[in-house]
Symmetry: C2
Subunit: 215 residues, 2 copies
């Protein structure tokens, strides 16, 4: 398809598509004449991913380029590529604390939690993963504010998180290639996180009505 | 306790506490002399809530005042107070769309979802709740970007959200008074949302390792 059709099918203006091409977020189309290039469904798919990252994930262009590079890096396995793509995504966590007592406590509780869960990736990712840092920082904030937050409290949440992750990967099975799987994983992570939090808050309203009555 | 002790026990500077007092985020202490006031455990607890809202929830001071007013409003039931407090919390959603086709589709899918779930609160909150708007806007974004997002896809996530909400409310049972219940609900919502998303991403790494191998 030509640029105009790519724009129409994606709902993204030609000016924006040209900007993404210049920034290396989209691979160039196949030249068919001095002034025209041909684009395919892969461009359309990639364009959706770029929009999800930038519009919804509010990922800066340079960061989006890192995510895409991780998606495309065929030198490593699927888990490594997913991990690299995810590690470039923004997260809601807090600034990682210093080695204050709350952070030390939080790190110990998180370690104990991961051990009890027996998550296979946990040992490998451990201190390298930005998610791990993020989790420790969030737990440390709770502890610092005087709220109980130990492995016992976290365990049932982690078990639910495990089921949610399984749901995500179930959905990925439908995508045939590694690139498509990783793209879909990134998109669903970015787009379904706000959906999940909205659903949880609505569920809280419902649970409240159930327990304490309406009004 | 005196201001100095309140500061020490909460880890919040006296200058900041005085600022919160001026802004009406904390009720004044009991005057014991011309220059001294006495604070109690209720002040300490409220101070933690204020810190959670402002530091972690990044709630502006004026919004924090609204949340606290809702927490303290004894004229309405627990569910109404919870709902009012939650509605003043920030949410990760997107700007509510116009009545474009994607938003119309999204509203229909969300309605169908809530009907299938049979959430009791759902009918009452429906169009009034900011969470409902937020959910419709997020789903509309997915649809607009060309990703499938219907009631079938959302249902298992909603069921997990239901379990997560039940966990939150389980934890609330330990708090004796209505005010403490609502305070705890707000704090755990603000503080546990980033924890949950971190856990989900770590669970994804684990699930990926399980399905596709490490590396």
């Amino acid at each position: 398809m030509r640029l105009a059709e790519l724009s129409e099918r994606s709902g993204v203006s030609t000016a924006t598509i040209k900007y993404y091409l210049r920034e290396g977020l989209l691979t160039p189309g196949r030249r068919v004449s001095a002034t025209q290039a041909e684009y395919d469904d892969e461009h359309l798919r990639r364009l959706r991913l770029v929009r999800a990252l930038i519009l919804v994930g509010r990922v800066p262009v340079a960061r989006a380029r890192e995510v895409l590079a991780a998606v495309d890096d065929e030198s490593t396995g699927l888990t490594g590529r997913l991990g690299a793509a995810f590690s470039a995504l923004p997260r809601g966590g807090h600034e990682a604390g210093q080695d204050d007592p709350a952070t030390v406590d939080a790190a110990r509780e998180v370690e104990q939690l991961l051990e009890r869960l027996g998550w296979r990736g946990a040992r490998e990712i451990d201190n390298r993963s930005p998610e791990h840092h993020s989790l420790v920082a969030s737990v440390a904030t709770l502890i610092r504010l005087g709220y109980a937050c130990d492995a016992d409290l976290l365990l049932p949440y982690a078990e639910q998180a495990e089921r949610l992750a399984a749901l995500d990967f179930e959905a990925l099975e439908g995508y045939p290639t590694a690139v498509e799987k990783i793209e879909a994983a990134v998109v669903y992570t970015v787009l379904l996180e706000p959906v999940l939090l909205s659903l949880k808050r609505i569920a809280q309203e419902n649970e409240s009505a159930r327990r304490y009555g309406v009004g």
